[in-house]
């Protein structure tokens, strides 16, 4: 059983602030996805990272995959109320299965 930890669990910040959330494990992953889930909706894919050390940017969101492919981070610059939601990381193991495992998420609230 892989242990997957997302931190922090909860984060409440003011509009305009920067933040970083983390996804950590002791296992090596072949790829990792980040999703955002809004209340009453299913998760929506934000990005997929595949290569160790890879950095991807999506407007004000910056995603990084650790060099050893065991961890990832999501940095948001100048957060806006529309960024409010549950951020889930979903790594894929190297075992060739078809399934991603999901972390418990970071619940972000951005106050106007």
């Amino acid at each position: 059983t892989q242990l997957l930890e997302q931190s922090p669990q909860f984060l409440s910040i003011q509009e305009g602030e920067n933040l970083t959330v983390y996804c950590n494990s002791s296992s090596v992953f072949s790829s990792l996805q980040w999703y955002r889930q809004e209340p009453g909706e299913g998760p929506v894919l934000l990005v997929t990272v595949v290569t160790g050390g890879e950095v991807k940017k999506l407007k004000r969101l910056t995603f990084q995959f650790g060099d050893a492919r065991k961890d990832s981070s999501l940095h948001i610059t100048a957060a806006q109320p529309g960024d409010t939601g549950l951020y889930l990381c979903a790594p894929k193991t190297t075992s060739g299965t078809y399934k991603y495992i999901f972390g418990t998420g970071t619940r972000l609230k951005v106050l106007a």
């Binding site: 996805q33 009453g40 595949v50 889930l88 979903a90 060739g96 299965t97 078809y98 999901f102 418990t104």
Partner: protein
């Protein structure tokens, strides 16, 4: 462009009742999944399917059954509902299992067993 459609959105069941959660996708995806999401517990995989006629158990399959007679549909059956099955259920699909293909999720079914 519907994507993944789940019905119903809400349901209250009595203990011991049965029901089927419906899931259909119009993207011609081969892979489909059922997850449950409990508060603070993340998404747990119940069952998945890699194509019509093929299904397999996930992490938490007990108390559930699935079938996949067509590419489009992947219903989840609850037999003898129990309070522990109170949860939000999400269906998802993806183009291929291998490779970094993202999941498309439905909007969920909120089930309460009383």
């Amino acid at each position: 462009n519907a994507g993944v459609t789940q019905t119903p959105k809400f349901r209250i069941l009595k203990i011991g009742q049965s029901m089927t959660l419906q899931c259909t996708q119009d993207m011609n995806h081969n892979y489909m999944y059922w997850y449950r999401q409990d508060p603070g517990m993340g998404l747990k995989l119940i069952y998945y399917s890699v194509g019509a006629g093929i299904t397999d158990k996930g992490e938490v399959p007990n108390g559930y059954n699935v079938s996949r007679s067509t590419t489009e549909d992947f219903p989840l059956r609850l037999e003898l509902a129990a309070p522990s099955q109170t949860s939000v259920y999400f269906c998802a699909s993806s183009a291929q299992g291998e490779g970094p293909y993202g999941y498309t999720f439905g909007s969920g079914t909120r089930l309460t067993v009383v």
